[in-house]
Symmetry: C2
Subunit: 245 residues, 2 copies
């Protein structure tokens, strides 16, 4: 465990972490992708996930605010605009709001995050703080869940379109766009981590950062499952699905 | 002092702060702009000021990383690329390096900041931390020194071109570009501060943030003056001008 891995061995280790810990393994996703959730449960997922989407630009700005290396900043900055939008591109957050609106949720209610689970917000803000407070290597390594994202996005697009009559191709455009964006982003991040994780300690720190990030994603689905599936105990103040949807 | 000012009165207060405290009043700038520095002293100014230039993207990313308001993030993000550069635009940091190179300084030495005065680095990093740790209102208000920048930039362009044979129009392009950029930036920031400083306490906090920022700029010139003018005691390890330039 404490010997120096080659960069290729380190990447293998990252992929093992993803295989074992990425939230594609979570039962909530199996239910989501195979059509076994009702519309209210899908609404709960989408409005909680909005908290994560809307925090990503702050996370990436926190990373940039700590980067003494201008090349890293120049490479990373497009991520902020990818989510917040540019003049000619609505951005990932707006695409997510297309999904929540398509699901019948009020846009302002979603943006207010008032109905989101406290556990969701705690996990998301833990991620922003992690990037702000840990080493640059750990901050970059925590983004490596993007290695595993295209698979889950493809599953989600096809599974949700097939199984839910209330899901149309238009509202899934967030995921289609991420199929293009995530591989480009992760190629840079993976190369960065391989080049900078040059001691066993740094390699371990990078692995732990990726595990941390997997935990951030996983715990959000645990909270959703608990509140909206089993036992289905919605915390006080959180979103309550309309029985008639 | 503790009564609520109108937005217009608050702007007047800001302009009074600038009139009394902006670093255009500093004796070092009078020397710089009237041709009374030698080339070594101008080099010292340019390589110290690089520390400030190169920290600005981190400062602006720190602000964005704390902004829950997406419209603010979208408005602010261009500042990072204005300094770091985009594919089609070299950016302010590169334009500053054109100046230092034009002054005969080694590019890598400037970028290393090894020859910069410790007081410069302390002041610059205090600014980054101020933006990271104080309220969003204070973070935005600290940028309002841009209200006063165009005047000093115009003085500097004409004064330095006129008085120094080692200064050419090409190396002054950083300042010419800022003549366009700064007014656009400050219009948004001033409006933001006027809209959000809605109590006497917030107005005072905004004034103090602007005073803090003036101090950041002023103290850099005090340190330059001390090291390179009077008494001219260069701290250990700091840049020593070549006697032959």
């Amino acid at each position: 465990m404490n010997e120096l891995l080659t960069p290729e061995e380190l990447e293998v280790r990252f992929r093992e972490i993803g295989r074992d810990r990425y939230h594609s393994n979570h039962p909530f996703h199996h239910l989501l992708h195979t059509g076994r959730l009702n519309k209210g449960q899908v609404q709960a997922w989408a409005l909680n996930r909005y908290c994560y989407q809307s925090a990503i630009p702050r996370k990436d700005a926190a990373l940039i605010s700590r980067a003494m290396d201008r090349e890293l900043r120049r490479e990373w900055i497009h991520r902020i605009a990818d989510h917040d939008g540019r003049e000619a591109d609505e951005g990932g957050i707006d695409r997510w709001l297309v999904l929540t609106t398509g699901l019948g949720l009020d846009r302002d209610y979603v943006i207010s995050m008032e109905g989101a689970l406290p556990a969701t917000k705690f996990a998301v803000e833990a991620y922003v703080r992690f990037v702000r407070e840990n080493t640059m290597l750990e901050a970059v390594a925590s983004s490596l869940t993007e290695l595993f994202a295209p698979t889950i996005h493809r599953e989600r697009i096809s599974g949700m379109l097939e199984h839910y009559e209330f899901i149309t191709a238009d509202v899934m455009k967030y995921f289609r766009r991420r199929l293009d964006q995530a591989p480009r982003d992760v190629a840079f991040a993976l190369d960065y981590v391989k080049r900078h994780a040059t001691t066993p300690e740094r390699q371990l720190a990078a692995e732990r950062a990726l595990i941390f990030k997997c935990n951030v994603l996983w715990s959000q689905l645990d909270a959703l499952y608990s509140a909206y599936v089993e036992p289905g105990r919605i915390p006080p103040g959180a979103f309550v699905p309309d029985k008639d949807v």
